[in-house]
């Protein structure tokens, strides 16, 4: 009993340390923004990485923590991105943005924060409508239904008849964006913190129970449909917010960009980070974006050395080849991902360190004993 109290206290202390580290990272980012060139690729990576981190964590909530395999992420992002863009384009800009549709029919703008939340709500509403028929079925039709939904929604948003709202196949632009990388990081961190709180609540435990064993979860009085629906809607809500952030990051929105390849990209991040690990998803998303946008860029540009030697293979498109190979290796040999289903927390790091220290000590004393025996 007492031991347990002590354990809890220590755990709380480590949680404070974790929070302090995250705040420290934010401070570091603020400092870097003041001393580095704002156009440096580093900031692009941080912005996109933070947005993808949120998208990956929201997907992980559904696929990793509830065990529901959904492939609709791009569709929900699209809804979020469009909702945000449509409702925040300033009135005086609408004439030029909706130039083929007489300025559109929406003649009001919402504050940015309200529009971002509305983006999430719209995505969640669509999740509700899809989940209603699909989540009742025992078998896994969700993947097919959500994939289909994402493709259909992409077509609908480009439909000419809806042009007065969606601007048809044309770009949406001139809505408010962010300049500082702190904005997407803060929004993503807030959303991920909420998801973490959910995962560690009674509902999060219920989601995990459903993932582990549906029949046992039902026997424990958990209503499968209701809880699956909740997880699906929450996940989509945050995918919608992620979509709104992506719209701000990209500065323009066009439905055609939200292809299923985007969903697979996020799924890949979830797998690389570890299915069922929030910190894994965050870590993997920054690494993935850094690798694809920055570290492997050089592979795309032909290089001629001083002595006139043209380095073979380096040409446009080679980056994608190397990238695919690296990912295949990760998926094949580290199928549990970077983190498995563990979390990267100071507590776990310290405990892991202690354990390996203990093991090392045991190993050394074992060795000594053996040597002595041999000597005798």
């Amino acid at each position: 009993m007492e031991q347990n109290m002590l354990r809890k206290k220590r755990s709380l202390k480590y949680t404070y340390i974790d929070c302090a580290i995250i705040i420290g990272l934010f401070v570091l980012l603020a400092v870097l923004e003041n001393i580095m060139m704002p156009t440096h690729i580093f900031f692009t990576v941080v912005k996109k990485g933070a947005i993808y981190a949120l998208l990956a964590v929201s997907m992980n909530l559904l696929n990793g923590f509830t065990g529901l395999f959904s492939l609709g992420q791009a569709g929900f992002m699209l809804i979020g991105a469009y909702t945000y863009a449509i409702f925040t384009i300033p009135l005086e800009m609408r004439e030029s943005v909706y130039m083929y549709y007489d300025g559109g029919i929406i003649n009001f703008t919402l504050p940015v924060v309200v529009a971002v939340i509305l983006a999430g709500i719209m995505a969640a509403a669509f999740a509700f409508l899809i989940g209603w028929p699909v989540l009742r079925l025992k078998s896994d039709y969700l993947a097919i239904a959500t994939l289909g939904f994402a493709e259909i929604i992409r077509a609908i948003f480009q439909w000419d008849k809806l042009g007065v709202i969606t601007n048809g196949a044309n770009l949406l632009r001139r809505y408010p964006k962010f300049t500082s990388a702190l904005v997407p990081c803060a929004v993503a961190a807030l959303c991920i913190a909420i998801i973490l709180l959910l995962i560690n609540s009674s509902y999060g435990r219920a989601f995990k129970a459903i993932r582990d064993d549906e029949i046992a979860a039902e026997a424990m009085g958990i209503n499968l449909f209701r809880h699956k629906q909740m997880s699906f809607m929450t996940s989509s809500f945050f995918a919608g917010i992620g979509g709104a952030l992506l719209a701000m990051f990209q500065t323009t929105v066009q439905a055609n960009a939200f292809k299923s390849a985007m969903t697979y990209e996020i799924l890949l991040i979830v797998v690389i980070g570890g299915i069922g690990s929030v910190s894994g998803s965050v870590l993997a998303s920054f690494l993935y974006i850094a690798a694809s946008e920055w570290w492997l860029r050089f592979l795309d540009s032909p290089m001629v050395l001083d002595n006139g030697f043209q380095v073979p293979l380096l040409r446009v498109g080679f980056r994608k080849v190397v990238f695919s190979v690296v990912i295949m290796i990760i998926v094949l040999f580290y199928s549990r991902g970077l983190m498995g289903d563990k979390e990267l927390r100071t507590e776990n790091v310290v405990n892991g360190f202690r354990k390996s220290k203990k093991k090392l000590r045991e190993w050394i004393s074992d060795r000594r004993k053996k040597n002595r025996e041999v000597a005798e």
């Binding site: 009674s202 509902y203 435990r205 995990k208 582990d212 029949i215 046992a216 026997a219 929450t234």
Partner: protein, 336 residues
């Protein structure tokens, strides 16, 4: 009536052409320990799955605390392929019959006593209304097509908890969390108050209750262990603790002693007796260990090929020829 906690009426479960449970009627009274035994594949687990809503029975009714909890009749495709009895008993078309009276009429006809037969027939026809009333007393939905098919979680909420033949613990979670999940069902919090810790008081209460239960069950020292890292016997005990955490009135145990040695079985026998008293439970269990069954059961039902072949106190069942045959038949097969 009121001391019958569980009642099954003519329950039939048919999978395609296989009738796994055939016209099963039984009852468990409050405070009783009742055993369901029978050779492998007799349909015992299927009967449990019907009671807990995992399967929707093809035909029949199951009542809990005197209230109809499940009710169904063959419909759709099954109407044609139904191979069980009483196909229309739970439909509009039901006509209650009195087997005994009908037999008496037939006997009189057989004997050539037309007058008595005619009199009996007239009395029988007059009693039709009475029979209807009787039927309504047993089944308030009688003479209707009403289907009641709640999901398993609703049944657990009513107060029926169960364990599984092949242990089903939440494998990625600790002993403590496995039990704590059972408290979710009756919690008042919603997803918002839970996420933003507005219902921390309830959460605290849930944790305290779980702790107390684990303490009572002598599992508290294992609270932070992964459920699946426990030895087999303890996993079974944990599964029972988890079921108890749902505050059941009726506990269904599917082969609780499976894989246990004689010593462990003996301990389990004692344990089942204890929890019945402590938590005011009625217990319905499937078990193959005859020592355990004979020692602890108030009554026993014997199932073979989905049909009830005997029932009664341990003494009666032990000496029933059909039961002996059913079990000997099985052991013959094993030797072959």
């Amino acid at each position: 009536m009121s001391d019958t906690i569980l009642r099954m009426d003519n329950v039939t479960m048919q999978f395609g052409g296989v009738v796994a449970v055939n016209d099963l009627s039984l009852q468990v009274n409050r405070g009783e320990i009742v055993a369901l035994i029978g050779p492998n594949g007799a349909g015992k687990t299927t009967a449990f799955n019907c009671i807990t809503g995992v399967y929707e029975p093809t035909n029949g009714m199951i009542s809990f605390n005197g209230q109809p909890m499940l009710r169904n009749h063959p419909a759709g495709k099954m109407k044609k392929f139904y191979a069980g009895a009483h196909a229309d008993k739970f439909t509009k078309a039901y006509v209650p019959q009195d087997e005994e009276a009908l037999a008496a009429i037939a006997a009189a006809r057989e004997a050539g006593d037309e007058l008595t037969a005619a009199n009996l027939q007239a009395a029988y026809d007059d009693a039709a209304e009475q029979r209807k009333e009787q039927a309504l007393l047993l089944d308030p939905h009688a003479f209707s097509d009403k289907v009641i098919a709640p999901t398993p979680d609703k049944i657990t909420k009513l107060g029926i908890a169960r364990t599984f033949q092949n242990i089903r613990l939440f494998k990625s979670q600790t002993v403590f969390d496995n039990v704590l999940i059972a408290k979710h069902m009756r919690a008042k919090q919603n997803i918002f108050t839970a996420t933003f810790r507005l219902s921390y008081k309830e959460e605290k209460r849930m944790r305290e209750e779980t702790e107390a239960l684990l303490e009572e069950q002598n599992l508290i020292h294992l609270r932070n262990e992964l459920a699946t890292s426990l030895p087999y016997g303890l996993q079974r005990r944990l599964e029972i603790a988890r079921a108890l955490a749902t505050d059941p009135q009726l506990l269904l145990l599917d082969e609780p002693a499976a894989g246990m040695n004689p010593q462990e079985t003996l301990e389990l026998t004692e344990f089942i007796g204890q929890i019945r008293k402590k938590y005011n439970l009625s217990i319905f269990m499937i078990e193959h260990h005859m020592d355990l069954v004979m020692e602890i059961s108030d009554r026993i039902y014997v199932l073979d090929f989905g049909r009830l072949i005997a029932s009664g106190t341990p003494d009666v069942v032990q000496n029933d020829q059909r039961v002996i045959d059913a079990y000997l038949g099985v052991s013959d097969d094993v030797e072959d």
